[in-house]
Symmetry: C2
Subunit: 241 residues, 2 copies
Amino acid sequence: MWRPALAGPPAVVLLSGGLDSYTAAAVAKRDGFSLSALSINYGQRHVRELEASRDVAAALGVDRHLELALDLSQIGGSSLTSLAIDVPKDSTFAKATADKHPGVIPNTYVPARNTIFLSMALGWAEVLGAADIVIGVNALDYSGYPDCRPEFIQAFERLARLATRAGVEGRPLTVHTPLISLSKAGIIRLGLSLGLDYGLTHSCYDPPPSGRPCGHCDSCQLRAAGFAEAGATDPLIGSAG
Amino acid sequence: MWRPALAGPPAVVLLSGGLDSYTAAAVAKRDGFSLSALSINYGQRHVRELEASRDVAAALGVDRHLELALDLSQIGGSSLTSLAIDVPKDSTFAKATADKHPGVIPNTYVPARNTIFLSMALGWAEVLGAADIVIGVNALDYSGYPDCRPEFIQAFERLARLATRAGVEGRPLTVHTPLISLSKAGIIRLGLSLGLDYGLTHSCYDPPPSGRPCGHCDSCQLRAAGFAEAGATDPLIGSAG
């Protein structure tokens, strides 16, 4: 009797260890992709995120998990990669700032980060024979980062068609952004409906030595507001959240 | 008395230690840019190239030279980054192959390499406040690499406008490709007219333990044919070349 193959087509998923990329990967898995997870140690001060990516990858049952190191702290220019720049705290939070001051990009923006990460994913996808990349960018409850917008993603797809052997040979690349138009609460609701354990994730930009979320950076505040709006409890915080 | 500023506008130049990137950087210097050189240790088997990049950077008088490490051998898929794939030798050489079999890309192609390198240059350019990147790609005497073509470069410029804070704020990026339509002989003539010492460079894809050029890989053969056509002697080879 004919049986369908158990493994779906391969997709490279950028997995940071945060809530968004975990959810995006889970959507891709639900949609039938078999996952190759790529995590980047880029010299971020929240390197705890990378440990979370291993737990998340295991929970997702990925085919493989590749960690690449690229020390963007040598480039600097962001509070996430340079200890000389403070991570903003209690900034009446990022979304409100972005709404009120469009074009004002906070110092947590890492120059060209998503371009660099998607390029690395593109190289690995080509070697794996994968025509699909998944990234958990979000253009709504985001922090005003230019490289989280749909027009950026479309431009990357166009570039990819010209950049690679696969593109030349007529196998175009698709970049999947299942979260791009969701609110943070919407992302959390979606993930909970898929049975995700957000206790595995790490979101804080600037964790204290305890490793617990600081509760005051934009990322912590976006996360807390998202759980509150979704009417859910953040397992990282417990009932206090 | 008014005097012009001594330093021109900053440009990030990708400097491999090879002949092409040295020449491209020298053209940018001639045109008034002050140079910030970026070299990538990507796990290439011809890592000798990186040592050459230091000599070349010193000869060019760059403002700064940044070396970033990104181990693409973890991705593999190319004879330049995977010891499991042999570098082709005496292959009636790359240009002839590319001319006769358009679309046939040799195994020295490194998946998405120029996309990755330009992305890293983009991040550094943004931090430095540079609106210009210089890359020594060449679409004529090349080896059939998709990411050396003008349409790829134009797509990257479009992407860069959407990817960065600088782009959002209306400061577009220009990627300069001064060699893109030159033959290898034309590149060598240009460089010699600028007084370059090609004895500082390294081109061989697969140097033996001596570090001397193998003479048989595509890169050695393109270089030898270029010097011959230019009627010049390769200082790396001497009168035997």
